[in-house]
Symmetry: C2
DNA sequence: TAGGACCTTGGAGTGCGCTCCAAGCAAGCG
DNA sequence: CGCTTGCTTGGAGCGCACTCCAAGGTCCTA
């Protein structure tokens, strides 16, 4: 029952990602994808040129027709982008997916390394938050001191 | 007792930041600052050119001599950089500091806004972490499925 | 006093991630 | 039919944050 699911590991690991998209016959023009993802059409075409996207279907006149799995992929790319992962690394991951099932181990390792990066970045930000909070407290105190000085 | 401290709010809000630096007569060449901060000398000079640094003292022959307060400032800049704050925004903050005490309110607001940004970014990263974890679980399961398939 | 490490400057160059442009094709509408 | 809107392409351009270069001055040690 789940052996075929290995083929779609990088587009639907788990339930279908939640985002709205009227299932039935799923096909989206580039401008629809722009509306759904917030990316620009330029960026979508650029992602394709650099090998970050899987093959995108075309209409009989050559226009792009995105599918739900492409949107799922873009959602993942968006998440990875938030982590600061370089586009080149995402392209590497995309290449592994295209290369087939024998790259599972490498993809798995890449995901786990990325997870560690994200944890480290969260820790960094919490350190920064602490500094910021100290400074904010200081400013609040200084503000009160100035106020009481003025009223003296 | 604390009224003079308002003058140093942006270099030593709280205890002296912990980082090692042999107090006494504090003076550092640019290469010492490179060693202490991990920034390049190019970057340090560039920060100065764009107005991100306060005035840096010079030796009688014109070489930079950094002081502890400059290192504290660089530590703050480093933290803010981690949050993804654009350099231009940090320059703005530096200008407020140079402008004097009457910019307290604006600096305070800027710090609080930055704090909110950091919180939002942490939340984003935690969302990404959740996606990553789902994917990692999926890959782990798929790996086990493939293994048991091979052994069948 | 010589040599080498280190410092100075303005300006040019780099890498990344888009962002835009020009020229042209295709579909829908009055 | 013309008009508008939307899509196509390769390639050029942009903003950011550095990064480096060339040409020269300074510091230290012997």
């Amino acid at each position: 029952m789940e052996t075929t699911a290995t083929r779609t590991a990088d587009t639907c690991a788990g339930p279908p990602q939640g985002d709205r998209r009227p299932d039935g016959q799923d096909m989206y023009t580039i401008s629809e994808v722009v509306a759904l993802t917030g990316l620009s059409a330029h960026t979508l075409r650029w992602y394709e040129r650099i090998g970050l996207m899987p093959h995108i279907d075309r209409s009989h006149t050559g226009q792009r027709r995105y599918r739900n799995r492409d949107l799922d992929w873009l959602a993942l790319v968006g998440k990875l982008r938030l982590t600061g992962m370089p586009v080149a690394d995402m392209v590497r991951y995309a290449e592994l997916v295209r290369a087939g099932d024998h790259t599972y181990a490498e993809r798995f390792a890449l995901l786990k390394a990325t997870r560690e990066d994200v944890l480290a970045r969260i820790a960094e930000l919490q350190g920064t938050l602490a500094v910021l909070d100290r400074k904010i407290d200081f400013y609040a105190d200084a503000g009160r001191a100035l106020a009481s000085e003025r009223s003296r």
